[in-house]
Symmetry: C2
Subunit: 220 residues, 2 copies
């Protein structure tokens, strides 16, 4: 039994083959967005791209590799804008501003390619999903470091960071799917930022049971 292929047989070298690859990816995007994963077949992709199915298999070893390339490109675009947004905002030193910027960036990203984003997040079978725990952990650590200096009276910062990340992502994602008009409203980003700020920046704890005023807890 021939082991399943893992690399493309050829890499596009001339302009013509490059165009072929682009056509394939464009057709793949179209089909994925319009018809979903269930009807995402190599035959259909090749047909819509106007290239022969065999050509498709010259540049992609298998079906999965196509969707992986789509995700790679998407991620590339998405992460290009993030760092400077963070840097700019960290200077301001304001939790609210930070989250507003993050929310806005996320909203823009979703607005740019809402359907594709939905498919990546919801519709791909687990096998085709970027299982990238390292990246996830990195994001988590970064967010936590951003938040730490401004958090007030948060007993478990790791937990809080988890909550903030999950909530932030899901809110924008849900909005993109169910209420796309929200992505156009700046107040939406403001509300998200407010949610985060009020959660992370808490008043002095009720001073347990006995001590009424003390309470300088910054434990851990």
């Amino acid at each position: 039994m021939p082991k399943p292929r893992t690399h493309p047989r050829k890499r596009p070298r001339q302009a013509r083959s490059n165009a072929t690859v682009e056509a394939i990816l464009q057709a793949a995007t179209y089909i994925l967005v319009k018809d979903g994963w269930a009807r995402f077949t190599t035959n259909r992709i090749a047909e819509r791209a106007g290239v022969n199915i065999a050509s498709l298999y010259q540049y992609f070893p298998n079906k999965e590799s196509i969707v992986i390339e789509l995700q790679r490109r998407h991620m590339e675009k998405a992460t290009r804008a993030a760092p400077d947004a963070i840097a700019t905002l960290q200077a301001k030193g304001d939790l609210r501003a930070l989250f507003k910027a993050l929310a806005t960036a996320s909203m823009e990203e979703h607005r740019a390619a809402p359907a594709l984003h939905r498919v990546f997040a919801e519709e791909l079978p687990r096998s085709a999903r970027r299982a990238n725990p390292a990246h996830e952990a990195q994001v988590h650590a970064l967010l936590m470091s951003l938040v730490r200096p401004h958090a007030r009276n948060v007993p478990d910062l790791d937990l809080a960071t988890f909550i903030v990340r999950a909530a932030g992502h899901a809110i924008v994602h849900e909005a993109a799917n169910e209420r796309p008009e929200l992505l156009e409203r700046p107040e939406f980003a403001e509300e998200i930022a407010l949610l985060m700020e009020r959660y992370l920046c808490r008043p002095e704890p009720p001073a347990a049971k006995r001590s009424k005023t003390r309470a300088q807890t910054t434990r851990k």
Copy 2:
């Protein structure tokens, strides 16, 4: 061309056939949870259930109907517990307590069948998903009515409700998938409740630009 079947050919009438149906659903659950949608095939289901594939097609008109029945049963179980939790908590009249109870209920539900829940939420193709906008709208309206009496200085309650719902659901769901141990910790529910309460129960607005102390805005 024979139109695609939509109803089962037979309904189980005797004990034996009833057991067959149960075996099918049990096997379907197992496969869905263990191997995911991609390997969720009628042949495999029948094999694991120990029944003939043709028998399966006596009681289920097609593959989708199996997963739909699974979802129906799951929802049935899940919604049985909700109403009294709400009723009990509405009496208390405390936003924090309400959200803590809701979060706890959600956590328990996820804990009971985490894998199945994940599959329903993430892995099913759109065709097999319960597209039930009416139900969604109902939940939204209910939550908004629960929250309204306690919200303070929330300019757009509909938006806030959307945010709260999306966030609440996603946080528990993410936890179930990535940090299942959180589902065991009561503080987790407390943190979620805190997130909601602090977001919905806001201090008097900063009184625009000039007036320093006044500010009794409850606009809209």
